[in-house]
């Protein structure tokens, strides 16, 4: 299967197989005007199967969001057909606006305009806690 190489844009590679659509949705890539290709179940030497997303154009991407959803992803910025920058993501220290605090006793349950921010508490078991009430993200 062939997807044309992109000239200026971003490639998200090494996405855990099956997670591509989830990332597409969370990053709201459907709102972009430029071409976006999602390849699922691609063959991979490193991980057997993987998903890939290619964005052919400018797209503001929140790397923390990608790192939270799937910390193994590689993000390559393409300029004039070449890889200008490649980042191997890690679990982000803090994420805002991705998950919501579900604790009914949390201040965010009554003050709608507060950003829902979570901080990484335990990288090993990927536990994030709400910065306000310290409840564990579900």
């Amino acid at each position: 299967m062939l997807v044309n190489p992109i000239k200026n844009g971003t490639v998200l590679d090494h996405i855990t197989a099956g997670r591509g659509m989830e990332l597409y949705r969370i990053l709201k890539l459907n709102e972009l005007e430029c071409p976006v290709a999602i390849i699922t179940n691609a063959y991979s030497l490193k991980m057997d199967r993987k998903d890939i997303i290619k964005i052919d154009g400018e797209a503001p991407l929140d790397l923390n969001v990608i790192g939270y959803v799937d910390p193994g992803v590689t993000v390559s910025t393409i300029r004039d057909g070449d890889v200008a920058r490649r980042i191997h993501l890690k679990l982000p220290q803090q994420i805002t606006g991705v998950i919501r605090c579900k604790n009914p006793r949390c201040i965010t349950s009554v003050e709608q305009e507060l950003p829902h921010t979570f901080r990484l508490d335990d990288p090993q078991s990927r536990v994030y806690r709400c910065i306000y009430c310290e409840s564990r993200a579900k």
């Binding site: 604790n103 006793r105 949390c106 201040i107 507060l114 910065i131 306000y132 009430c133 310290e134 564990r136």
Partner: protein, 304 residues
């Protein structure tokens, strides 16, 4: 500008300084009578807690400052739906420091982000209550002369007891701390807290259901209330509650210099006959609360 939202916002060095200042206030109160002259404390109590509010207000008056505020949300603009951030912006015009109690967890953190003056968390729901923890630490220091090399028993509701979690976190930064957790199965210390403790080298902890068995080893016994609402059925509550009530008989095997602490208010978890025992510290503990709050306000206001 610094605020106090959770006990771990303070380093052990800062806690040592606070204890040192509090001791000095106790020794020479007259030297502090005008330290906060012209300063105003706002006590914003979105839910009532007379004990804590009076302690803050007495502390500011003894430093020569003034106090304004409200003692429940229904008497304030909050009842009309004003946000924490807007309330804080308004109060910033009138006060030099704010003590805030709120039923929602994290509300004081929201306040501290918006505020131009220091915020002290005076309790946010079942979450943090750092001035209670400072009070506990000052009490332990005054009773024992140290915060390290202690065997500390926590008895009762270790699952929901926020004062317990926060004191354990504070103590686990000192060396030679041995924690004994005494509770029924239903009210054990949450697993994530146990995991945190297990990871520390300077702290050991053991668990038991038997207060009498644990008591002879303890330097400090921290009692908490076992509340009926925490149990699924009345029968379990009745079966268990007496095991976690401190009586003179249970004290028979305790060390002669063990200190009994309780965050108050007490219901029936310490029988009144224990009150006259010299080991009972809980009323002295309440008085310590005022001194440590005086020291804290001086620190946050950067007054020498």
């Amino acid at each position: 500008m610094k605020s106090l939202i959770g006990i771990l916002d303070l380093s052990t060095k800062e806690i040592d300084n606070l204890i040192h200042t509090a001791q000095d206030i106790i020794a020479r109160p007259e030297a502090y009578r005008e330290k906060c002259k012209g300063k105003k404390l706002a006590t914003l109590f979105f839910e009532p807690s007379t004990r804590t509010r009076l302690s803050f207000e007495a502390a500011m008056y003894e430093l020569g400052g003034n106090v304004l505020g409200f003692s429940e949300a229904s008497s304030s603009s909050v009842a009309k739906g004003e946000s924490v951030a807007d309330t804080i912006r308004t109060v910033n015009c009138y006060a030099d420091i704010i003590a805030m109690r709120h039923p929602k967890e994290g509300a004081p953190l929201v306040a501290s982000v918006k505020s131009q003056v220091p915020i002290i968390n005076a309790g946010d729901g079942g979450h943090n209550h750092p001035t209670q923890t400072l009070t506990d630490l000052l009490t332990i220091y005054r009773e024992k002369g140290r915060l390290q090399d202690l065997t500390v028993g926590f008895c009762g509701d270790l699952k929901f007891g926020r004062t317990v979690h926060s004191l354990i976190e504070a103590l686990s930064r000192y060396s030679g701390i041995r924690i004994v957790l005494i509770s029924p199965d239903e009210l054990r210390l949450p697993e994530y807290m146990q995991n945190k403790l297990s990871a520390l080298e300077n702290v050991t902890f053991t668990e038991t259901k038997d207060l009498e068995e644990a008591i002879p080893k303890l330097d400090i016994l921290y009692m908490t209330r076992v509340q009926k609402e925490r149990f699924f059925n009345e029968a379990d509550y009745i079966r268990l509650k007496d095991s976690y009530i401190l009586t003179p008989e249970k004290l028979a095997e305790a060390k002669a210099d063990m200190s009994i602490l309780h965050p108050l208010p007490r219901v029936n978890e310490i029988s009144v006959e224990v009150d006259d025992d010299p080991r009972a510290c809980y009323f002295r503990q309440a008085l310590n609360g005022k001194f440590i709050r005086m020291a804290l306000m001086l620190m946050l206001l950067e007054i020498q």
